[in-house]
């Protein structure tokens, strides 16, 4: 994956991503109770329409091309995958594949497909569609974002049709996350796309302006109309394959309307007035406001708990050209000093950040795994309390000193000052930076905060390495550790603190490489957990990133929406839109 592809709105399960807007900051996690038991799915009433606001227009309806969150979200309601991760339980469930078998060596997956399933245009779904779909995802020339996920250890997975309703996948190596690999990979209609693929025109079709009859899918809804900049209307797919407990065909809703509302405050006002039924990705301030201001209990607001996002301060330790960036090279002397990084971490007022920036709706973290990820969180990570005195003692033992005005000096008596860049469109992160600035001032470090346009920031972090420090976030696409390969492996494309390393430079980095590789090709959970616990321990001890906090996932729905079960992974509110329904009177919130 090249750096160019990392965009603020890129969404891909299985890959770590950067997000720009505060509203896009979080992916879902589960609350502790939801981890093991699934809440009861109610039998709903057919009919009605749910309106959901989108931040931007979808860029495309073509699953092969979609990289932004909005497009992926819309496509998610129109398409279906073979195996689906239940966002509430974090576990896999049969979808288009009714069952699957794993070979004893953990390499081969044999999937039995559902019979009598029809696309939304009435054509039958068979193994040919599956083979064709994976051919598209794996085609290098199409550079689909899903390709990264389907290439394990530099070898693409192999797909073979056994019969009309059986497909065999060869993952080339035992693969830790197992069948989770199939989630969110939309199965596409061969009969509609084959000729375009042959003519190399796949990139031009299924755009937002496509006619509804040109698009077909296996998801609960299909396209009805689209007005650019205003709305996208989907209607019920009469051929959808799922049925509820009483045998009624899903989805319950007749229509699903996406309206484009560009800013969060406007979305909140529309939700408040009842114009939209579901509010996704709301900030803590607005969440608290909505919660306070609802005497008639007409809305249900859910704090699903900390998500899979982590916000951190990254000190630049890349090997920059000292002739070109002499100032950065000089600063890296401090940043490479573990004592300096520990002192910075000790000075951070994580609790203050959670309180002031997120109104308490976030969790302080000291390691890379958010507390929302119950399956993988290591309990051995230390949570040292904030202590300016200890931080100063550490700096002193590292040879730092202070001048008469209390400014920190390094071993050569140069004042320690640096710049923290932060995405200008993200007010929350700018606020965190302001707090960090004040915290570091107490150590005698003069820090400047420079808000930069997000793309400019990513370019500096990923390509030019022309920065001192950056306050940013990463979001895991799944609870599984494998998506973090790119971050922790020294050759990884997201190895942010020292990119483009040929080989690990420190013993702990070498150990990280080994641990991450062996966890990926191990299938036993307990063994993997042990390996990953050690990863978390190494990361917390060596602080390549100074972890700060993990924001909560906050969503809302009118109390008339039934079966609203916000979940763990993106899309956390609409993942079960096929089961959601409208009831005439509001019910009590769960």
């Amino acid at each position: 994956m090249s750096a160019r592809q990392i965009s603020p709105c890129r969404f891909q399960r299985g890959v770590i991503l950067l997000t720009a807007l505060s509203a896009l900051t979080s992916f879902a996690a589960t609350s502790s109770s939801a981890q093991d038991k699934q809440s009861q799915t109610e039998v709903g009433r057919p009919g009605g329409r749910i309106t959901v606001a989108l931040r931007t227009d979808p860029k495309t309806l073509n699953p092969i091309l979609a990289v932004d969150t909005t497009s992926r979200e819309v496509i998610g309601t129109m398409q279906a995958d073979l195996v689906h991760i239940n966002r509430e339980t974090q576990r896999t469930e049969p979808a288009l594949a009714s069952s699957w078998k794993v070979s004893p060596d953990g390499r081969k997956y044999t999937l039995a497909l559902r019979r009598d399933v029809k696309f939304s245009d009435g054509a039958s779904f068979t193994a040919d569609d599956v083979v064709f779909t994976f051919q598209l995802y794996l085609d290098k020339t199409l550079s689909s974002p899903q390709r990264d996920l389907l290439v394990i250890d530099n070898k693409p997975i192999a797909v073979k049709k056994i019969d009309n309703y059986t497909v065999e996948f060869d993952l080339t190596k035992p693969y830790g996350p197992g069948e989770r690999i199939f989630d969110s990979l939309a199965i596409l209609p061969k009969h509609l796309l084959e000729s375009a693929y042959r003519d190399h025109k796949l990139g031009e079709i299924w755009g937002v302006n496509a006619k509804p009859e040109e698009i077909a899918g296996l998801g609960p809804f299909r396209l009805k109309s689209y007005v650019a900049g205003q709305q996208l209307l989907l209607e019920r797919n009469p051929n959808y394959w799922r049925k509820d407990a009483s045998g009624t065909s899903l989805p319950y809703l007749n229509e699903l309307l996406f309206t484009v509302v560009a800013n969060e405050d406007a979305q909140v006002i529309k939700f408040k007035s009842g114009e939209t039924q579901i509010l996704e990705r709301v900030g803590a301030d607005n969440f608290n406001l909505l919660q306070k201001d609802d005497p008639s209990k007409s809305r249900c607001l859910y704090d699903v708990g900390p998500g899979l996002e982590f916000v951190f301060l990254l000190l630049n330790m890349n090997s920059v050209d000292p002739t070109k960036h002499a100032d950065i090279a000089a600063k890296e002397q401090w940043f490479r000093d573990l004592k300096f990084r520990e002192a910075v971490s000790l000075a951070m007022d994580r609790k203050g950040m959670v309180r002031l920036v997120y109104g308490g709706r976030a969790t302080p973290i000291w390691g890379n795994v958010s507390p929302g990820n119950k399956l993988w969180l290591s309990t051995n990570i230390q949570h040292p309390d904030r202590s300016i005195d200890q931080a100063k003692a550490l700096l002193k033992s590292g040879g730092f000193s202070w001048d008469a005005n209390g400014a920190l000096l390094d071993q050569q008596k140069h004042p320690v000052t640096f710049t923290v860049i932060v995405s200008s469109s993200n007010t929350q992160r700018t606020k965190i930076a302001t707090i960090a600035q004040d915290d570091l001032k107490q150590l005698g470090i003069d820090v400047k905060v420079v808000p930069l346009e997000f793309r400019a920031l990513v370019d500096r972090v990923m390509n030019t390495h022309d920065y001192d420090a950056v306050l940013m976030n990463l979001v895991n696409g799944d609870v599984d550790p494998t998506p973090e390969m790119g971050l922790w492996r020294s050759t990884g494309e997201m190895h942010l603190w020292d990119m483009g390393e040929k080989a690990p430079t420190t013993p702990w980095e070498a150990e990280l490489d080994k641990l991450m590789e062996s966890q990926m090709t191990t299938t036993d959970y307990a063994t993997r957990k042990k390996l990953y616990d050690r990863v978390q321990e190494l990361v917390a001890q060596n602080l390549p990133l100074v972890f700060l906090l993990s924001p909560d996932i906050l969503v809302g729905a009118q109390s008339t929406v039934g079966n609203f079960r916000p979940g763990i992974l993106d899309p956390y509110a609409l993942w079960n839109v096929d089961e959601q329904f409208l009831q005439p009177t509001g019910a009590a919130c769960r």
Binding site: E264, D265, V268, I269, D285, N286, N288, L289, D327, D349, G352, R355, L356, V357, G359, G360, T419, I421, S424, T427, T430, K431, A433, T434, I435, Q437, D438, K448, V449, V450, P451, L452, E453, A456, D466, Y467
Partner: protein, 343 residues
């Protein structure tokens, strides 16, 4: 009120306002960057005169916050903690001009009491102190911008109006070009190419200078029209007939005619440039955190929850309106006195 009394009152208000923003350190109750992280969005501290035992106290006092209530995020006073307001107290150190520092503040309370006359912002920083410091930046921006615009405009206008012919044509086309320039986009571009490690105050002054340089076009036009009529006056013609040099005529006869106009323009332009600063900061192009300006303070109101919940955050807006009215009054008074048209 007689006209004279009214004028004196407004004049003293004008002076007082500028005095306060020239010396924000003295009038503020704490530093602009001092955070009280346990008190975000604290409402303004109420001043009391009657003690809980119903005794009247001439010296106003405040109550402390109830710590237990603070922990759950609500503000409740604790009537057992009483902090009388004291005058000329020692507090945080501030800089008057580079190199000279002081630590005496006009108002204050004993520790651990905290006085927030206008409440606090989201970091628990005192809004009153930030407003005073913010005024300094905003008014400074207005003055610098106006000075650059007037200076450039006066010179261009004088030369253009006095020399006429092709010089006039060329400069006036240039004026039209500058008036048509989309300055906001220009500023975005300037901000984007600036290096990272430049001081935030330097960036800011640079941006204001850019605004000032773009703003010279209108004053230049006005000055030119004044010069055009002035140079045909009989005393100017007489001076020329007597062999006075161009420079002499410009300096002795035409510039005095234009000065009154410039003064009126200044009173009219300064608020315009203050507004430009507010616009810049509102769009995130202004001075960086933690230094406040009225624009960055008002930018907080972009957030819906701040807008509907925390009324004290409107204070810089009210200050801005008051300042505008005073400048407007100053501009019209000068105009009446010297009798120049201003359009």
């Amino acid at each position: 009120m007689s006209d004279r009394a009214k004028r004196n009152a407004l004049l003293s208000l004008f002076i007082a306002l500028h005095l306060v923003v020239i010396l924000p350190g003295f009038f503020s109750t704490q530093g602009y960057a001092e955070q009280s992280r346990d008190l975000p969005f604290s409402p303004p501290t109420r001043l009391h005169f009657v003690r809980p035992d119903r005794h009247f106290s001439l010296r106003p006092f405040i109550y402390g916050w109830n710590q237990a209530a603070l922990d759950i995020g609500t503000y409740e006073v604790d009537r057992s903690q009483i902090y009388p307001i004291r005058f000329l107290v020692r507090g945080s150190t501030y800089t008057i001009v580079k190199g000279i520092t002081a630590s005496t503040h006009l108002l204050g309370v004993d520790k651990p009491g905290r006085l927030f006359l206008f409440g606090t912002d989201d970091f628990g920083r005192d809004e009153f102190s930030r407003m005073l410091y913010g005024g300094r930046i905003s008014i400074l921006a207005g003055w610098i911008g106006a000075a650059i615009a007037l200076f450039t405009g006066a010179i261009v206008g004088l030369i253009s109006g006095y020399s006429g012919r092709w010089v006039d044509s060329v400069t006036m086309r240039l004026v039209e070009l500058f008036m048509a320039l989309p300055w906001l986009y220009l500023l975005f571009a300037v901000r984007a190419i600036l290096p990272l490690r430049i001081e935030t105050t330097d960036t800011f002054i640079l941006l204001i200078a850019v605004v000032g340089i773009i703003g010279w076009a209108r004053p230049a036009r006005l000055v030119r029209s004044m010069v055009l009529t002035a140079k045909e006056r009989n005393f100017v013609l007489a001076a020329r007939a007597m062999g006075a040099s161009n420079f002499h005529i410009l300096r002795k006869h035409i510039l005095p005619q234009v000065l009154a106009l410039l003064l009126t323009m200044a009173a009219y332009l300064i608020p315009q440039f203050i507004l430009a600063e507010v616009t810049l900061s509102f769009l995130g192009l202004g001075i960086g955190e933690p230094v406040p300006s009225w624009g960055t303070l008002l930018a907080e109101l972009q957030k819906y929850n701040v807008l509907v919940n925390y009324w004290w955050m409107y204070a810089p807006g009210i200050a801005l309106v008051a300042l505008f009215l005073i400048y407007h009054w100053a501009s019209s008074t000068i105009q009446q006195r010297v009798g120049v048209p201003l359009t």
